[in-house]
């Protein structure tokens, strides 16, 4: 397992480098001056602007700028946000946990729904349950997350007034009440993301179980008199989840997109809404940093998926 991990890590590094090159290339190709917005800002005199340009080496050739930017990033110097007047890394670290919490909880919810439903539907293909689950799944991933979010707000916040739709990190309560309030406000965004993901993962699980259930070793397991339930839960599910892990990992970039939208709708102070607000405010350092962080997170989650894959499938780790 250790060897496998090292191999995956070694592959992840060129990916990160590649992503950083792509991002930086996009930035370098962009016309206009990232600091042009400062030109209209009366608080920054022209000499300061010129000094900033030299300091950030904006007039150097692109490869030099890239290396310098990469080195800075690696050392934790992510720049300064003129809009928020604080270091970018502080800003991001402040908001990252919220995003990770919402995404993490929604993925867990998604798996808790998708795996049982998918397995059950696959064991009774073309039954009423299966067709219903399939149709619901289609509806689930055809509904754009922003629409689902709005619908939930309409129903649960406006009509029923059960759940608050603005996320606050400063809830003035203690103990259980604090947790309860947090849960109440996190419920809708987690549900939106979770149900969307559950819709597609359910179909993957179903397809994978259908593939596995017809394999020879499942017949062997039945021939051993283990009972259908044990055959399914022990022999089929673990094998069926192996390709699903890969597919879920591939969806990570899309999940972050959904998180951005959800944070906007529910006004969650995560890095997704930070990205939007800094775009609207022309705060380039933040935009670059957040995009890069999101890309890094994708690589990180792919690595985690690789680890889970290696754990599930011994053929990978025991060569």
């Amino acid at each position: 397992m250790g060897q496998y991990l090292v191999r995956r890590l070694l592959i992840a590094i060129p990916s990160l480098l590649g992503i950083s090159i792509v991002l930086f290339a996009v930035l370098a190709l962009a016309p206009g001056d990232p600091f042009e917005e400062l030109a209209t800002n009366p608080a920054i005199p022209p000499e300061v602007r010129a000094a900033l340009r030299t300091k950030f080496g904006l007039d150097d050739p692109v490869p030099v700028r890239y290396v310098r930017w990469l080195a800075a990033m690696a050392q934790g110097d992510w720049g300064f946000s003129f809009v928020s007047r604080m270091n970018v890394d502080t800003l991001i670290l402040q908001r990252l946990p919220t995003t990770l919490f919402v995404i993490g909880a929604s993925q867990v919810l998604a798996l808790l729904i998708a795996i049982p439903v998918g397995v059950y539907a696959a064991t009774r293909p073309y039954s009423l349950f299966d067709q219903l689950a399939n149709t619901l799944a289609f509806i689930g991933f055809s509904l754009p997350t922003f629409f689902t979010g709005l619908l939930l707000i309409l129903v649960f916040s406006i009509y029923l007034d059960w759940l608050p739709f603005i996320y606050r990190t400063d809830i003035s309560a203690t103990g259980w009440r604090w947790y309860w309030e947090h849960l109440r406000q996190a419920l809708m965004p987690i549900a939106v993301l979770g149900l969307f993901q559950a819709a597609s993962v359910t179909r993957y699980v179903r397809a994978s179980v259908l593939d596995v259930i017809r394999l020879d070793y499942v017949t062997t397991a039945r021939a051993k008199g283990l009972g259908e339930r044990v055959v399914i839960t022990k022999h089929v599910v673990r094998n069926a989840l192996i390709p699903v892990v890969t597919l879920v990992a591939l969806q990570m970039p899309a999940i972050f997109g959904g998180a951005i939208v959800t944070e906007q709708i529910f006004r969650i102070p995560g890095i997704g809404s930070l990205l939007i607000s800094s775009i609207l405010a022309n705060d380039t350092p933040v935009v670059m940093a957040v995009t890069f962080i999101l890309a890094c997170l994708v690589v990180l989650f792919n690595l985690i998926a690789d680890i889970v894959y290696g754990w599930l499938d011994p053929r990978i780790t025991y060569r």
């Binding site: 020879d216 070793y217 017949t219 062997t220 021939a223 051993k224 008199g225 022990k234 499938d313 053929r315």
Partner: protein, 323 residues
């Protein structure tokens, strides 16, 4: 010959497909007595595997169905049994070894786990005791270094070794009948002999009966005491092995025996390899009358009208032919 363990009477297993109802097994009578080896031969698609799977009710029930017949195990009919009762029979009374060792073992669990779970299910032993039994079984099937290998995964074994593991798994609960469905077809020729020998050894040691399914007449000649010949979903001949080879009564059996490549005769007479002309009939719409009639050089008008029943022409020798 001991008492009859397994009696299959008039078994019909059909499959519903888009193109119609496939009569994979269409009236099969077969008996296995305690301690004997019965060889079931026939070409691909004649229904031997489906018969074996039907015994343990391993047929996928949505498209497949046991339409008719009885499968008597110690006099008790297995056909109406529910899944839980069948689970008690599987591996504990009747065990099966499949053809493809490369895909018959679950890749994500160690071979030890897969054997031990059978033992724990049927014998109720603790984990440690089951592991001990597992190691013993592996040693029995001559896997070197069983204490270490018991923690290995299937992909770390070769094909022949995997088949030994399958045999160990099948015999782990001391069943009275072992069904071996083409156990050597997917293996190298050199390994084939070893596996067959292993099965014979195990049979002697456990005193069990063996139903050996194969399409190779040579295998049957070496290992079986009685042979059942199947064609197109039905049994066409049944006889003790020597009699079958010396005096085959059914034209199909005769054709099968003649088509075995033999060094001595071919070289001596320099004749071409004899094959039975024609192809197996469609099981969707079996022809009325004897199924072999279209390919049989002795076919007469009566053959095409009604299916000849299996009748005993000599002691222990049954044929389904008007001849």
């Amino acid at each position: 010959m001991g008492e009859p363990l397994l009696e299959i009477r008039g078994l019909k297993t059909h499959f519903a497909t888009d193109d119609g109802m496939v009569h994979a097994v269409d009236g099969v009578d077969l008996t296995v007595h305690a301690g004997e080896t019965v060889g079931v031969v026939g070409e691909s698609g004649c229904g031997k595997t489906v018969t074996a799977l039907s015994v343990l009710k391993l047929i996928a029930m949505p498209p497949g169905r046991i339409v008719e017949g009885q499968i008597l195990w110690h006099g008790r009919d297995l056909v109406p049994l529910g899944p839980e009762a069948m689970d008690g029979v599987r591996a504990k009374e009747i065990a099966i070894v499949f053809q493809e060792p490369m895909t018959s073992l679950n890749p994500v669990y160690t071979v030890g786990e897969q054997i031990a779970e059978t033992i724990r299910r049927h014998e109720g032993l603790s984990r440690r005791a089951a592991l001990g039994n597992t190691v013993d079984m592996l040693r029995l099937v001559q896997i070197p270094n069983p204490e270490r290998r018991v923690h290995d995964y299937p992909h770390q074994f070769s094909g022949g070794m995997r088949q030994r593991v399958m045999i160990a798994m099948a015999l782990s609960c001391s069943p009275k009948l072992l069904i071996a469905d083409e156990p050597t077809t997917a293996l190298d020729v050199t390994i084939q002999a070893q596996i067959l020998e292993l099965i014979q050894d195990m049979k002697a040691r456990f005193g069990m009966a063996v139903m050996l399914i194969t399409h190779a007449m040579g295998v049957v000649a070496e290992t079986a005491q009685r042979v059942v010949v199947m064609y197109a979903g039905r049994v066409v001949e049944e006889a003790p092995v020597e009699q079958l080879f010396r005096q085959p009564r059914h034209p199909y059996t005769a054709g099968l025996i003649r088509s075995i490549p033999r060094i001595d005769t071919a070289a001596a007479r320099k004749t071409r390899l004899e094959a039975i002309g024609g192809t197996v009939p469609s099981l969707l719409d079996p022809p009325a009358g004897c199924r072999f009639a279209p390919r049989c050089r002795f076919a007469m008008a009566t053959c095409r009208q009604a299916v000849p029943p299996l009748r005993e022409v000599e002691a222990g020798h049954k044929v389904a032919c008007v001849l």
